[in-house]
């Protein structure tokens, strides 16, 4: 029998973490994502599955607890919001460098600085370009519904373990706080069905000591390690791109939007179509790897693209790189905690592409 619940996005993530067989959650409170740890504590995750739930003294400590536990091969996650994710960047860089699987959730709020607790998509650059120091990438999934908040947790774990790489769920205050109907997946037992050869669980006589590290004092092996990482990211780009297309087949123009902005654009699309303007929507589900091949294909036959983001325009740069000058690519979005309405999006679209 299917199990439906009315849940907040943040609660759905937490319930999904329990059901996905997560071994540990380490976190620190910050609005607008505090419900995640509150839910794990209230719903007694530890009693239900044996999952460790620990409130750390800071995001810095939380991400390093994730680093420690992930080194043992366990399924570990953390969650935070923008300023907290900034504080975690050192640890995330280490986790990427040491090639550990883990899941990080960013329920984005507006910045810069302390900013405001209202929703935003201004952490795009930080999420898809690495975020901390060094050449590395995270697998970035962008849910646009409470259902996807739940479904992307096991997906993120699968991808994290497949590539031994941190996976980031890039949500925002809209998706985190809103309530929707969710169909919950059946609990997945806590198992260790993956390559365990690298984990630190105590060196037994039958194997060499394992060291989780991102350090090499010699530059040549470090370059080799970096080549290995780059090859891994290339494989993700070849195999893991996910996106959704709405009415792109006959479209003259394409809006590109992810997460909550994609929901707003799907309504703007209807308004445009009602006026007889053929607009399609491309919704990247993975922001890294980015659907650049598909965008380049669409650029062969549409007249223009509009990146609609709750930011001053970040993803628009990646769209322009993919389009490579073929057609005009513009940006529209409210930001700083303000959220655009479908009619504002349509108005901006018409102003940019139709009236001029």
């Amino acid at each position: 029998m299917k199990e439906f619940l009315l849940m907040k996005g943040n609660e759905a993530i937490a319930e999904a973490a329990i059901r996905a067989g997560a071994d540990a959650y380490f976190g620190y409170p910050i609005t607008p994502q505090s419900e995640i740890m509150e839910y794990l504590m209230t719903e007694k995750a530890t009693e239900r599955t044996g999952m460790v739930v620990l409130q750390a003294e800071s995001e810095l400590a939380a991400i390093n607890m994730v680093y420690g536990a992930a080194g043992t091969g366990k399924k570990v996650l953390t969650s935070s919001s923008s300023p907290g994710i900034s504080l975690m960047q050192e640890g995330i860089s280490y986790i990427a460098g040491a090639e550990l699987p883990c899941v990080i959730i960013n329920v984005v709020r507006a910045g810069p600085g302390l900013g405001t607790i209202q929703p935003s998509q201004a952490d795009y650059f930080q999420s898809v370009k690495g975020g901390g120091h060094g050449d590395y990438r995270l697998i970035v999934l962008a849910p646009s519904s409470v259902q996807e908040m739940a479904d992307f947790v096991p997906l993120a774990f699968d991808l994290a373990f497949k590539y031994r790489n941190p996976a980031l769920i890039l949500s925002d205050g809209v998706i985190g706080q809103m309530m929707e109907k969710v169909e919950l997946f059946k609990p997945i037992p806590r198992t260790e069905q993956f390559d365990q050869s690298w984990v630190i669980t105590g060196k037994t006589p039958d194997r060499k000591a394992n060291v989780i590290t991102s350090l090499d004092l010699e530059p040549l092996p470090m370059e080799k390690h970096n080549h290995h990482l780059q090859a891994k990211y290339k494989k993700m780009e070849d195999e893991e791109v996910r996106f959704e297309e709405i009415m792109c087949d006959d479209a003259d123009y394409i809006m590109v939007a992810y997460g909550s902005s994609a929901r707003i654009c799907s309504k703007a699309l209807q308004l445009a179509r009602a006026k007889g303007v053929k607009v399609g929507l491309l919704r990247p589900i993975t922001l890294f790897p980015f659907p650049k091949v598909r965008i380049a294909e669409l650029a062969q036959r549409v007249k223009g693209m509009l990146s609609v983001e709750l930011s001053a325009g970040q993803m628009v740069e990646d769209i322009r790189l993919a389009v490579n000058g073929k057609i005009p690519v513009e940006h529209y979005g409210r930001f700083g905690g303000m959220v655009h309405s479908p009619s504002e999006v349509l108005e901006a679209f018409e102003k940019i592409f139709i009236k001029n």
């Binding site: 390093n64 607890m65 680093y67 420690g68 630190i200 105590g202 000591a209 060291v211």
Partner: protein
């Protein structure tokens, strides 16, 4: 009796721990890190816990311990070893987890992680090597640098008025309820080494017996940073470091045994 008659396997009374790898220590001549690494290896071997022990090596000279002791290790970001150890221990509570940290790591950049891991009473062991200076980065002032002590960032001596006083973090930690065992030792003489080994063993046993966090500070030298010969550095340490960082057990079985 000829020397070659004495040097026979059956007469062997002391050799380096078999848990040490064949790599030569990369520490400077006379550095207390080498002795401290040796003691940790000896204690793990003697307790027979090498198959179940996971070390956490942070940033600084102490990072390289993972090259020298043949057990599983995680290399932590600067200062974060107690948080990394917490993560490991919480998901593998039956394993033995220890950190091996220097003073810049544990008492400056990692103060928060240190205090909170201790305050939560994480059932881990912390080995803290305090040589009053940042060694690997070239001898800069540390939180533990003595007043008046010259370093590359306090070239005219640590001026208390502008640079503050040395942090006695071990005494601070001893007051926390989550901490079961605290001791301060040194490794510059055979007698000091034997006492330090006893303390390290007690700190590991504390964890094995699930009594809470065990913490051992080793007051050590940094010959290169202090710009002294090893023998001179040890003399200087006795005359200057020990009065400020007095040796001995501070907390045993959860009770303070020293007036702080």
């Amino acid at each position: 009796m000829e020397v070659k008659e004495i040097i026979r396997q059956e007469n062997m009374v002391y050799q380096r721990s078999s848990l040490l790898t064949s790599k030569p220590f990369s520490y400077c001549p006379g550095c207390g890190h080498g002795t401290s690494n040796r003691l940790v290896a000896e204690v793990i071997e003697e307790l027979g816990i090498q198959n179940d022990t996971i070390g956490v090596a942070p940033v600084g000279c102490s990072v390289l311990i993972y090259d020298f002791i043949d057990i599983d290790f995680s290399q932590a970001p600067h200062g974060r070893a107690p948080a990394v150890a917490t993560g490991i221990k919480r998901v593998l509570p039956e394993k033995v987890v220890f950190t091996y940290q220097g003073d810049g790591d544990l008492a400056a950049i990692g103060t928060s992680e240190t205090i909170h891991a201790c305050n939560r009473g994480e059932n881990i062991t912390i080995i803290f090597v305090n040589n009053g200076i940042y060694g690997m980065t070239g001898g800069q002032m540390a939180p533990t640098t003595l007043p008046g002590m010259k370093t590359s960032t306090s070239p005219y001596g640590r001026e208390v008025a502008t640079m503050g006083t040395p942090l006695k973090i071990t005494e601070m930690i001893a007051h926390l309820d989550g901490v079961n065992f605290v001791s301060r030792q040194a490794v510059h003489t055979p007698a000091a080494v034997r006492k330090a080994k006893k303390a390290i063993r007690a700190a590991f046993e504390c964890q094995i017996n699930k009594k809470g966090l065990g913490f051992v500070e080793i007051v050590s030298n940094c010959n290169s940073g202090w710009k002294m010969t090893p023998v001179k550095a040890n003399q200087w340490m006795e005359e200057n470091m020990f009065p400020f960082y007095p040796l001995g057990d501070i907390k045993v079985d959860g009770k303070l045994v020293k007036t702080l």
